[in-house]
């Protein structure tokens, strides 16, 4: 197990190194740089002013030097300065992380707490009217894009309550705090709840057909004991995998949701930074996301061993 851990950690570092190269060079391939964008906003191009600005921002240096400055700074925890706000990049990124983490955490909680029980119910009640209703709900969750769902929620909120859950950094009431995070979390978590529901259902159906389930029933175990103790415990592995992968993919949904609900989180900030080609922000932020995703995969792998004693990582 220890050797496996070391190997996985080494592979993680290699993966992150590869990602850093891809992030850095892909960003440079994107047409237009920060100087172009700044001049586009100013509506003119002056070659002399442009050259001065490139020199000031250090983007006139060879790419390899720029990469070295960035990656060595990243490892030291020095993220450089945002080209747009001219504030330290870390100072810009850090306050936004808890906002997105709260939103993502709540979305995952929403996904697991709704998706797993409904998936179990759907499997246990296979072929009933309830099963069909739940399958339609899960299918709609997979089909509705989060930007559309978000706008639908906003429009409904205005039409019904004359209120709109726009991000409020200092919520006065519990209801405001709830509206701040829960509604957008539901919008983004709906898709992953639907996916969790479908995976739980199919995994449960497969397990429920196993001999040991039949044996448990034959021994007189109650339905609850069979479904939740025997079946769910064995069916949960693919669900954990999916939730882990969803955690990584959540950033895509969050970009849209944070934009629609005007939440000043990391995801929306990333899109804005890309739009401005604000390299220090984009590079460091994507790198941080990569670290989170790679670590999430690592944790999921480790959780396999916790949930399934049959799995032994002995190499």
């Amino acid at each position: 197990m220890f050797a496996y851990l070391v190997r996985r950690l080494f592979l993680m570092l290699v993966t992150l190194f590869g990602i850093s190269i891809v992030i850095f060079f892909l960003l440079r391939i994107v047409p237009g740089n920060i100087v172009d964008i700044l001049f586009a906003a100013a509506g003119y191009v002056d070659p002399a002013d442009k050259a001065n600005l490139e020199r000031e921002l250090g983007i006139d240096q060879p790419l390899i030097m720029q990469y070295w400055h960035w990656i060595s700074g990243f490892l030291r925890g020095d993220f450089g300065y945002s080209y747009v706000s001219e504030k330290p990049a870390l100072q810009e990124i850090l306050p936004r992380i808890p906002i997105t983490a709260r939103l993502a955490g709540l979305a995952l909680l929403f996904s697991a707490s709704i998706g797993i029980p409904l998936g179990v119910i759907s499997a246990v009640k296979q072929g009933t009217r309830l099963d069909y209703v739940l399958r339609v709900v899960s299918l709609s969750g997979l089909s509705l894009p989060s930007f559309w769902l978000g706008l639908l929620i906003l429009t409904a909120a205005v039409a019904m309550f004359g209120q709109i859950p726009i991000f409020n950094p200092n919520p006065a009431t519990w209801l405001e705090a709830f509206a701040t995070y829960a509604v957008p979390a539901a919008a983004v978590g709906f898709r992953s709840a639907a996916l969790t529901m479908r995976i739980t259902r199919s995994s449960m159906l497969e397990v429920l057909r196993q001999d040991y389930i039949r044996t448990a029933r034959a021994k007189g175990a109650s339905d609850a004991a069979v479904n939740y103790h025997h079946a769910l415990k064995n069916a949960i592995l693919p669900v954990i995998t999916v939730i882990g992968i969803e955690a990584a993919f959540l950033i895509g949904g969050l970009i849209v949701t944070e934009t629609v609900f005007n939440i000043p989180g990391v995801a929306r900030f990333l899109v804005e930074a890309i739009r401005w080609r604000d390299y220090p922000i984009v590079q460091n932020l994507v790198m941080l996301i990569a670290v989170v995703v790679v670590s999430a995969n690592f944790i999921v792998d480790m959780l396999y061993a916790v949930f399934d004693p049959r799995i032994r990582y002995t190499d």
């Binding site: 586009a40 906003a41 747009v84 726009i166």
Partner: protein, 532 residues
Amino acid sequence: MRSVWALAATAALSLLAISTMAFAGEPKQGGILRMYHRDSPGNASIHEGATYSLNVPFMPIFNNLVIYKQDEPQNSLKNIVPELAESWAWTNEGKTLTFKLRQGVKWHDGKPFTSADVKCTFDMLMGKSQQKFRQNPRKSWYNEVNDITTNGDFEASFNLKRPQPSLLALLASGYTPVYPCHVSPGDMRTHPIGTGPFKFVEFKANESIKLTRNTDYWRKGRPYLDGIEFTIIPNRSTAILAFVAGKFDMTFPTEVSIPLLKDVKSQDPSAICVVEPNNVSTNIIVNSTAAPFDNADIRKAMALALDRKAFVDILFEGQADIGGTMEPAPAGLWAMPKDMLETIPGYGPDVKANREEAKKLMQKAGYGPDKHLAVKVSTRNIPVYRDPAVILIDQLKSIYIDGELDVVETANWFPKVARKDYMLGLNLTGNAVDDPDQSFYENYSCGSERNYTNYCNKDIEKLFDVQSQETDIAKRKKLVWEIDKKLQEDVARPIIFHARTGTCWKPYVKGVTVMSNSSYNGYRYEDVWMDK
């Protein structure tokens, strides 16, 4: 005796009526004006920007030497009033403009305002000082200024190479705040210091901009508001819904399109909305340095093929204006009369006849029903650019031109145009001041950075200078009309239409004036108050 009593009673009633009226309309102090902002400005330094995304939130921090009266919708030389200057005088046969400056004015950090601040601001704009702006889009505004001299702490003179009466108009623009000498241009980008009615509190990129009342403002009793908060919401649907739901007191100025205006009025009938022209023209930039548009006949044919009314009907439900370079009347002060406009090829009401003439020109150039000309119509990937480009392509079909839409990311647009790497471009031009000097020199003079088409006509250039020096407004207008007509006939940058857009606010917001011939000059907000 009876008449005396009657007179006294009438006077008393009149006084009562006047005092009641005054009471009902008496501005109240207090309140934070909440607005949404359409996007995150690149920085906070007005001098380094060319978008009103920057002017709207940061103009309240500053003062100019002079400014257009903020409660009159139409900017003109007649309604320029002093701000940091108490008075001004032209001397030396119109070649010296001297300002007497206001005394006792303090910067928001407590330092005194003096003539040195005026000198260093304009020296930086002219590129004559040690400290430089990172970007300086309006440097050409001061081409005729030799230098700035000061006489003591409270007098500053602009010494010109030749008379330029409209310099005052440029100085009155929202784009011309006075900066403090003791703050670096870099600091002004992130933490601007001004003398204006509101102080900068914070600017969180992509999130919000907050301003608070300047309690030491030199204009006593102003501002009425305790502060202004802009929440940055790039998603227009969300922003409008939030306004309707009461999260905001006002929309971002001139940002509500005509179709959206209907939505606002249907969902919030109490909202006060105005639609005004904003001196932004939608136009075609023609690369006349390369084939096929190096052929004057093809350029002229294209201009003749335009059905401007169709653009206005489709995109604005009829609410936009047709004109030349200068903004159309009545909002615009320099627009050609209608009968003169209609003599320009392509502006006549008979579109069919225009297009027949265009076809003949195309045939002369070697094209016809069997041989169409293929062109790329490049434009930015934004609806206000893309939508008219699609209509343009459709209209060009009528004269044997097959257009293909070439959508360019904003980051690439200006470099591409500067490289002349395009055939036709659909472009928007916002004029900061409704003044021919600003429009002509910036967009049509040889070598100007914003002259995207490289149009260069030395004869016209001479006329630019003649009109610029003319002090008789009536005479200057006639010259301007002639120049504008010639620019359209030369297909220098064919103007398709001038847009109109909406601004909405809640009924308790008072004292808002939306400028009708500028998108850049009406955001001081010191007269705005809330009846709450």
